[in-house]
């Protein structure tokens, strides 16, 4: 039974081109980039070339790309590193209403350390409520964090407008954007967005797991999370994961190159999926916010009857792979605060399935998936 993989927002298969780029560094081209012999210098050179590729993808200076162990660490580095103002542990931090757990959990920890936390909200249409933001930002605000694309709904949030508001109302604040679900899907430019930092992750775009980056727009007083040998300009110590970094670079290059085509194809497939679901009936699509402001690869569904997790296992047993809620917490069974923020009840939140496409998803796969969903409605809707 062939697998139809529709969980690309959780992770993506490593692309062949990426594996090819990485392979030498897992074999003959080994070396510690900090060593000054030829092996070390070659590894350093590979990292620097990659740094330039990642920087180019978001319009940054290569020197301001800090490689991390992934998106979570990049978000942690931004939250903890940019809220730091010398010895002082106070001020306000504003975080968006649908932020990833890696941002929300940092906010909880920072609240314990003395910061006050402000939470943004969605307006009734599901868009970011900018009026509310405006009221909550002040000269006390030291950090603003807002994701660019929701990992649960695919909504694109107006980070540029928010950054503008922040500059006016909270001139002291650094503005961070989690761009993990945006990379390879939206045109990313630090200066157009007007933010101070962006977090990125490789494995959402066909790169390896365990590598990501925080990219800075300017030289900010960033306090590291990891201290040691001073790698990454002292902002992320530890011997670099050379092969993963090289793979990240290749994946970014391919994602940007193919972005236009991938987006077009995902738009068509999304339309096919939504229309097909309308024909089946009973399954509702969650598409909050403006239709134009939508990353087409992510679609959340409300399924009837059995809990979404039972649907997931039934789909899985028939070769269709999706996720429930946010994959990182699918295990915890706690109700996703993001779904609650979008106005769902706890009961509805347990019925949410997320389908996420990639540029490689085909129309046949969507047809087959619709067929399976049609069968499952008969089997599970009345449970």
């Amino acid at each position: 039974m062939p697998t139809i993989y529709l969980d690309n927002a959780a992770t993506t298969p490593l692309r062949e081109e990426v594996l090819d780029a990485m392979t030498p560094f897992l074999g003959e081209d080994w070396g510690n980039p900090s060593s000054v012999h030829r092996r070390g210098v070659a590894a350093r050179e590979a990292i620097d070339r990659t740094r330039a590729k990642v920087a180019r993808a978001v319009g940054a200076q290569p020197a301001r790309v800090i490689f991390t162990s992934g998106g979570t660490e990049a978000n942690n580095l931004a939250m903890r590193g940019l809220s730091w103002r010398g010895a002082q542990r106070q001020g306000a931090i504003w975080i968006g209403p649908t932020e990833h757990a890696s941002i929300r959990a940092c906010a909880v920890a920072l609240a314990e350390e003395g910061f006050s936390i402000e939470h943004g909200q969605l307006d009734p249409s599901g868009s970011l409520d900018l009026n509310d933001c405006e009221e909550r930002l002040s000269s006390e605000t030291v950090l603003v964090s807002q994701m660019l694309v929701s990992n649960e709904f695919g909504s694109i949030y107006p980070v540029d407008c928010l950054a503008g508001l922040a500059r006016a109302k909270a001139p002291e604040a650094a503005v961070h954007a989690d761009a993990i679900q945006a990379l390879g899907k939206l045109h990313l430019s630090l200066s157009q967005l007007g933010v101070d930092s962006l977090s990125l992750s490789a494995h959402k775009i066909g790169g390896p797991q365990g590598i990501g980056a925080l990219v800075l727009a300017r030289d900010l007083p960033l306090r590291p999370l990891v201290f040691g040998g001073g790698q990454e300009r002292g902002l992320r110590s530890g011997t670099e994961n050379v092969a993963a970094i090289v793979g990240f670079g290749r994946a970014v290059e391919l994602a940007v190159e193919e972005q236009g085509a991938a987006l077009e194809s995902m738009k068509v497939l999304r339309k096919q999926l939504v229309e097909g679901l309308q024909k089946i009936g009973e399954i509702e699509c969650l598409e909050p916010g403006d239709e134009e402001m939508q990353q087409p690869g992510i679609l959340s569904l409300v399924v009837p009857g059995a809990p979404a997790e039972v649907w997931l296992h039934h789909l899985d047993s028939r070769g269709v792979v999706v996720s429930v809620g946010s994959a990182c917490q699918a295990n915890k069974k706690e109700i996703s605060p993001v779904l609650l923020a979008a106005g769902l009840t706890a009961g509805q939140a347990r019925q949410v399935l997320r389908v996420s496409l990639s540029g490689q998803t085909t129309s046949d796969e969507i047809s087959t998936t619709l067929g399976v969903l049609g069968e499952l409605v008969k089997e599970l809707a009345s449970l």
């Binding site: 997790e309 997931l312 296992h313 039934h314 899985d316 295990n331 915890k332």
Partner: protein, 403 residues
Amino acid sequence: MNPKSVSVATPEMVLIRYGELALKGKNRSSFENSLLRNIREATQHIAKIRIERRRGRIAVFADQRVMEIAERLQDIPGIKSVSPAWRCDAEPEAIVALARTIVRDALRSRPADEITSFRVESRRSEKRFPMTSSELDRFVADRVLPEIKNIRIDLKNAKERLGIEVRSERAYIFMRRLPGPGGLPVGTMGRAMCLISGGIDSPVAAYLAMKRGCHVSFVTYHSYPYIGEASKKKVIDLVRRLSRFQAKSRLFVVPFTEIQTTIRDKAPEPYRTVLYRRFMQRLASKLAERDRCKALLTGESLGQVASQTMENMTCIEAAAELPVLRPLVTYDKEDAIKLAHKIGTYDVSVLPEPDCCTVFMPSKPIIFGKVEACEAAEAKLGVDDLVRKALMGTERIIIESNA
């Protein structure tokens, strides 16, 4: 002779105390043989050991990681306590020299102004040794204690006790006595088949049976795709944790979906849970027979949930073909939770993975079921066929401890 340099962190051997008073004759040697086998299996990944067995004591020697061995042996049923120990020649002056270092080292970390009660406890199995036990106690105490501040002899309630065991050529000396589980060595009381769900109780029941000498095999029921692979993984993790207390465990994973959908479609709704459980007993009995188990084992506790009334337990047990052991039948939930914490299964048990009992849960489950009603309902299900198919699809997994 120069005193050896010893450190409390690096003992040379482990002294093991075991045995129930009642054990005699043939029972005793079977007990000891099982215990020795279990000790070897439990320590094989830690270090190469040499075992010495003499007069109701087992001593384990290793060139390294002795403290780890001692801690590992605290999990082995049948062991009452263990003492990490050091050895020297069996002569009074050598004993004093070693005892001095051990006492000094062991008391080093106590608060400066605390007065510690202390005594020496010698045992002398070698009658050629020139002193009696009480003479040796005094001989050592007189020479060791004057050098240590804030210490007083208390023969009745000493907090710190220096143990000395004199054998033919060597003496073993120790301060610490780490408790073991007690009970009987796994294997001495045969095998039992535990029905494990992923909750808190069944792992505790399994542990209690192990502690009374049962080797426990496990059976779990899996209703894919109504519940996911993560639920099965959770049971595997629980069995892995329980395998600290016995070497290798067998887990049977029985496909249960068809049985549940058939019951859903053809049996009265209030009876669903009781009927699920009757099938579980039936299947467990068949697997037990193949696995040479002499009893079934469950975590049932009287009145804890609707299916655990006496009436429902009667209905459920009627489907079993072997005696059903229920170590927790009179336990309060808090007591089971306490034990679950102690044996390290609690944090896995509380992971929120559903088990098959939650599938098609009846809205009003029967509280006082009747066996005749169960049998009447089952007459329409094709029981034998369902059981045969489930057994054919059963997967057997061998699980070793990662301790």
